[in-house]
C-alpha cells in the first residue's frame, strides 16, 4: 500500500552530494514530497530528511539504492510513531488595524513569532508538525497572504537506533 515515508540520510558533506541524491531519486522514479538538508553537529556530515510516497517495496529500494552511494553513511526509514517531525514556515501578510488583533491571537495560539512589521506588512514565523502548519495556513487564509515559504520536514527518531 502507498503511504508516506520519512527517510533520513546521513551523508559525507562532499561537493555534489545533493546532486547525487536528487539524481538517484529522479532516475529511479521515487516520488519526493519534500527534501531538506543541513549540517549536523558532526563536522563534515550533513543530514537529509526526505518525505516520499510509496509502498514498502519502493521504500526498501530507496533505502538500498541510497545506501549504494559511496558518500551516504546511513539510511533510515523513520518510524513515524516513534519520531519527532517539524516543519518551519515564514509568512508575509498584508496588515491593517482591524485585522491585527486576530492575527496576533493566531500567532500567540500557535506559538508563532512576529519577525517584522512595517509598511503595512507583517512577517511571521511558525514551527511545528505538518498538521499544525497546515492549520496555521488555513487560519490565515482569510487575510491577505502576500508570500509564504515552508521547509520540508526535518525529523529524528526517539530513543536509540
Amino acid at each position: 500500500m502507498e503511504h508516506r515515508h520519512i527517510i533520513t540520510l546521513e551523508v559525507e558533506d562532499k561537493p555534489g552530494v545533493l546532486s547525487r541524491i536528487s539524481t538517484l531519486f529522479s532516475r529511479r522514479g521515487f516520488n519526493v514530497d519534500s527534501l531538506t538538508v543541513g549540517h549536523t553537529h558532526r563536522p563534515g556530515i550533513s543530514r537529509f530528511t526526505i518525505v516520499v510516497q510509496g509502498n514498502d517495496q519502493v521504500v526498501e529500494q530507496i533505502r538500498k539504492q541510497s545506501q549504494k552511494l559511496i558518500h551516504v553513511l546511513t539510511v533510515q526509514d523513520l518510524e513515524q510513531k516513534r519520531s519527532v517531525m517539524r516543519e518551519f514556515a515564514i509568512i508575509k501578510l498584508d496588515y491593517n488595524l482591524e485585522d491585527s488583533k486576530e492575527i496576533n491571537e493566531i500567532v500567540d495560539l500557535y506559538g508563532g513569532r512576529m519577525l517584522d512589521s512595517g509598511e503595512g506588512q507583517l512577517i511571521v514565523e511558525f514551527s511545528g508538525t505538518e498538521a499544525k502548519i497546515n492549520k496555521v495556513f488555513r487560519k490565515l487564509e482569510k487575510f491577505k497572504v502576500l508570500e509564504s515559504i515552508r521547509t520540508g520536514k526535518i525529523g529524528m527518531q526517539i530513543g536509540s537506533l
Binding site: G16, T23, Q67, K68, I70, L73
Partner: protein
C-alpha cells in the same frame, strides 16, 4: 599499498605513478587539450602502453573487453567536453554489465569551470547516473586518494565503472602528493559473506524442494565462481537455466543444463521458472525484464532464493522469500562446506535431466545462415576471444557459441550497445594476445564503431570480424513483423556496403562468403591468416545460391 610517502610531482606524474602502482599495463583513450598533461607524463612510463582508439566510445568498450578477460579494472582516458560525452555509452554499458572500469577525464582548468569555456561540460553530473561512483578533483591533495579509491571501488563489491574528472591545472601544478594513505570511505562497505541464517534457510528449502532449479546470471562469472557453482549443482543434481550474461557458466552438453530464460530463450527454461519449479535459486542476476519477461509469471509457484552481492538487486523486481547478500564465490563455498558436513538431497533422483528444447528465435530472413556460421565457429577447437554486437546475431551467438575455449562470450547484455563488439574484441586481445579474436556482428552494429578496425590494423591484431550482411537492421524488421503488423520503416540500410573493400581501404584483408559450403573453410583461413580481416557473409546469397563461390581480395 605501501607506507605513505610524499613526493613533489605534477598531478599528471602523480596520476601515472598511481596507475603503475595499481599494475595498469594498458590505457585505451584519446587525447585532447585538457588531458594532454597526462599524455606527456605517460611518455615516461615503461609499464603502461597507451592504445589510441579512434573514438572515445571505442576506447571505453576496449577497456571493457580488457577488463572482462583480465578480471581487473580496464582504464580509459578521455579529454573534457566531447571526450567525456563520448564515454557515456561505454560507462553505462559497464555499469549495467558490472564491468570494472576506471575512467579518467581531463577537465578545463578550475578557474574556468562554470563559464561554458571551450570543451567544457558538466562531466560529474552527466556521468553520475552511469557510473558506480565519480569524483571531480577540486584540490591537488584529493587527486591521489580519488584515484586510489577509484580502483578500489571499481573492483570490489558489485563491480562497475568509476570516473575521476581532473582539471588541467591540477594535472600541471606541482604538489607534494602523498601516496598509499589509508582509504577513507566510511560509506562503502562491500558485503563479503552471506548471512549464516539465510544460507541455512536456503539449503533447507533446496533440501525439501521437489522441483528445484538454479538460475545463473553474469554475477557468477564476474565473481569467478564458476567452479563453485558447477560443484554445487552437480553435487545436488540441480537443473540449471541461465540469463544472457550467464553464457557458458555450465556447458550446454551438461545434462543438468536446460537453457536460456527470457524473450530469446528456450521454452523448457522459461517453463521451469514460470511454472514448474517449486524452488528457484537465482544467483548473480538482477532478474531483468529480458530474463523474466512477464514478472507476474516469473516464480509465481516457487520459493525464490536470491543470492547477489548487491543488496539492491534483491526484491527489486521479484520479491525474494530467502534473500542472501554476499559474494557469490564465498557464499557458495560456505554452502559447499555445509553440505559436505551435512549432506542434503542425498537420495533425490534428478527431477529433470537432459531436457533440452528449441530456442524461441525467429527463423525468418536467412536466420539459418547465422546458425551455420556460429556453429562453424564453435567447431573451431582453439582458444579464441569471441565478442558479439547487438541484434539478431547476438541471440544466435548466445545459443550457439558453445565452445568453452571461446569463453567468456563478450556481449553487451544490459545496455544492448550496438558497436560494442569490435572494440571489445580488440581490448580482449590486448589483455591476452596469445589468442585470436573474433567479432560476430551485423552490418548495422558494425557501422556504429567500424573506425576501430584501424586499431586492429595498426597493431596487426589477429582479429576476424564476421559481418552478417543483409543490408538491413534485421532485428528491427523482426520486431516490426511481430509487433507492428509488418509495417516496415527505418530498417533498410540503403546502398550495400562493400565490407571487403572497406577492410582493404583500412589496410586489412577482406573476404566474402556467398555459399554455405565455404563458411567453415573461410573462418579457418581467416583465423590462420593471423591478421586483421573482415569476412562479409552475404546472408541472402548464402541462403539461396546453389554453387560455391568465395572470393578474397588479396
Amino acid at each position: 599499498m605501501g607506507s605513505a610517502k610524499n613526493l613533489e610531482l605534477t598531478g599528471a606524474q602523480a596520476l601515472v605513478k598511481v596507475l603503475e602502482e595499481k599494475g595498469v599495463t594498458h590505457i585505451f583513450g584519446y587525447p585532447g587539450g585538457a588531458n594532454l598533461p597526462i599524455f606527456d607524463a605517460l611518455r615516461q612510463s615503461r609499464q603502461i602502453q597507451f592504445v589510441l582508439a579512434r573514438h572515445e566510445q571505442g576506447a571505453a568498450h576496449m577497456a571493457e573487453g580488457f577488463a572482462r578477460i583480465k578480471n581487473r579494472p580496464g582504464v580509459v582516458l578521455a579529454t573534457s567536453g566531447p571526450g567525456a560525452t563520448n564515454l557515456v555509452t561505454g560507462l553505462a554499458d559497464a555499469l549495467l554489465d558490472s564491468i570494472p572500469l576506471v575512467a579518467l577525464t581531463g577537465q578545463i582548468p578550475r578557474e574556468f569551470i562554470g563559464t561554458d569555456a571551450f570543451q567544457e561540460v558538466d562531466c560529474l553530473n552527466i556521468t553520475m547516473p552511469v557510473t558506480k561512483h565519480n569524483e571531480l578533483v577540486h584540490e591537488e591533495a584529493q587527486l591521489v586518494p580519488a584515484l586510489e579509491a577509484a580502483f578500489y571501488i571499481a573492483d570490489t563489491g558489485r563491480k562497475g565503472p568509476v570516473l575521476v574528472d581532473i582539471p588541467k591545472d591540477v594535472l600541471t601544478n606541482s604538489y607534494p602528493h602523498q601516496f598509499g594513505l589509508p582509504l577513507v570511505l566510511p560509506g562503502y562497505n562491500p558485503t563479503v559473506i552471506g548471512n549464516v541464517g539465510q544460507v541455512k534457510k536456503a539449503l533447507k528449502a533446496l533440501n525439501k524442494a521437489a522441483r528445484p532449479v538454479v538460475l545463473v546470471g553474469g554475477g557468477v562469472v564476474s565473481a569467478g565462481a564458476v567452479p563453485e557453482l558447477l560443484e554445487f549443482v552437480r553435487k545436488l543434481k540441480l537443473p540449471v537455466v541461465r540469463t544472457l550474461m550467464g553464457t557458458g557458466v555450465i556447458p550446454v552438453e551438461d545434462p543438468l543444463y536446460i537453457g536460456l530464460v527470457g524473450t530469446h530463450g528456450n521454452q523448457a527454461a522459461n517453463r521451469l521458472v514460470q511454472k514448474d519449479a517449486d524452488v528457484i535459486f537465482a544467483i548473480g542476476t538482477k532478474l531483468g525484464n529480458r530474463a523474466t519477461m512477464r514478472t507476474q509469471l516469473f516464480s509465481r509457484n516457487a520459493t525464490l532464493i536470491h543470492l547477489d552481492i548487491d543488496p539492491a538487486e534483491i526484491s527489486k523486481v521479484i520479491p525474494a522469500q530467502i534473500p542472501i547478500v554476499g559474494s557469490i564465490k564465498e557464499t557458495l563455498r560456505d554452502m559447499l562446506r555445509r553440505i559436505q558436513e551435512k549432506p542434503i538431497r542425498q537420495n533425490q533422483i534428478p527431477w529433470i535431466i537432459g531436457k533440452k528444447s528449441s530456442h524461441l528465435l525467429a527463423t525468418q530472413d536467412q536466420a539459418e545462415v547465422l546458425e551455420l556460421v556460429i556453429k562453424a565457429l564453435s567447431a573451431i577447437d582453439r582458444p579464441l576471444h569471441v565478442s558479439t554486437d547487438v541484434g539478431r546475431h547476438q541471440m544466435w551467438a548466445n545459443h550457439y557459441c558453445t565452445n568453452p575455449k571461446h569463453l567468456p562470450l563478450l556481449t553487451s547484455g544490459g545496455l544492448g550497445t550496438m558497436g560494442f563488439g569490435l572494440p571489445a574484441a580488440i581490448g580482449a586481445w590486448f589483455a591476452q594476445p596469445d589468442r585470436s579474436a573474433v567479432n560476430l556482428t551485423g552490418d548495422g552494429s558494425f557501422m556504429m564503431n567500424m573506425q576501430e578496425f584501424a586499431v586492429a590494423v595498426e597493431y596487426q591484431i589477429p582479429l576476424v570480424v564476421c559481418v552478417f550482411n543483409d543490408g538491413r537492421l534485421s532485428m528491427i524488421r523482426e520486431l516490426q513483423n511481430a509487433q507492428y503488423g509488418k509495417r516496415h520503416i527505418a530498417h533498410d540500410l540503403g546502398p550495400r556496403i562493400d565490407y571487403m573493400g572497406f577492410a582493404k581501404a583500412m589496410g586489412g584483408t577482406g573476404y566474402r562468403v556467398l555459399h554455405e559450403d565455404n563458411i567453415g573453410p573461410m573462418l579457418l583461413k581467416a583465423l590462420n591468416g593471423g591478421r586483421p580481416c573482415i569476412i562479409d557473409f552475404d546472408l541472402e546469397k548464402i541462403a539461396h545460391s546453389g554453387h560455391l563461390h568465395a572470393v578474397a581480395n588479396q
